[in-house]
């Protein structure tokens, strides 16, 4: 790369970003977990996350992701030291780094619908703090449950109705659920 001019260096970075996008298409996940917790205002935390699992032999790819996103953590997968996970969990980084990357480079993805829901959830939380009202939290939980149909991934621990009932427990919802 010593003799590469600015033009060439830019296009190498672009190539790398498209390559990373394809890699994310295969190995990456956007996920919104709903965690029950007694200290959470309405009993549940909502955690949007972006992650990439990879056998440790492919650590260079996780480092490439870290370099391109300019953030994120690489750590062994709990319970399996052979596998590493790159993750971005900061809502701000999800909004400012992950979402714009997906907008631009995941145009060939077959998982655009999952991304669109993920984006709606992150923006609802980060821009509009919708999770701070029970009705807003319910809308977010509904979107999260719709992201990953149970048939294709891990089952959720609690049914959607169960979570909604707990969030709204003791309240009469003042907005429709739709």
């Amino acid at each position: 790369m010593g003799g590469a001019n600015q033009q060439e260096r830019l296009s190498i970075t672009e190539a790398k970003k498209w390559f990373l996008a394809g890699f994310i298409e295969g190995e990456g996940s956007l996920c919104v977990s709903i965690k029950e917790h007694p200290s959470a205002r309405f009993g549940y935390y909502v955690d949007p996350e972006f992650f990439i699992y990879q056998h440790k032999s492919g650590i260079a790819l996780l480092k490439m992701a870290q370099e391109i996103f300019g953030t994120g953590r690489i750590a062994p997968k709990p319970g399996n030291e052979e596998v590493l996970v790159f993750s971005i969990v900061s809502r701000r980084s999800l909004k400012e780094k992950v979402i714009p990357f997906f907008e631009k480079y995941m145009v060939f993805s077959t998982k655009r619908e999952v991304f669109e829901r993920f984006k709606e959830i992150v923006e609802a939380m980060e821009d509009r703090k919708e999770h701070l009202t029970p009705e807003g939290l319910v809308r977010i939980v509904e979107k999260a449950y719709a992201m990953n149909p149970a048939s294709k991934g891990k089952e959720r621990k609690h049914s959607l109705q169960e979570v909604i009932d707990r969030i709204l427990r003791g309240r009469t919802p003042d907005t429709p659920m739709g």
Copy 2:
């Protein structure tokens, strides 16, 4: 895309190729299987293959691969109809399409060593017909066994020594094994 000029269309194709490369980094495999068969000249066939497994929901990506390589077959995975496999098995296509694609677009790959061995095997067979002598076949089998260390993938049915012994059975090798 209606108004896109030639320049723009080219760069979209390039972006797609880099994206496909990253996808292949995660989901693709280069593999050389050694198949015992009574009709094979020295008891074994050597089959280099390129394939991509994918849940059927991602069929668009396999079609993208088929479009970019200009060849290859998409079929259900035997025993699991939910999964599709895109494969290129023609040695000529491997040499003329898959290898040049890997040379150009898999530069960020962490699996370059596997690719280099795969390329050596395809060229040994396609360019120099080395598999048509027992010594050449042994060299190819050795490279194939070295491609995927047993610790990381499926175990081979027969040990390397067993295969070599059968290929050379009844012969005194006239070249060293190295």
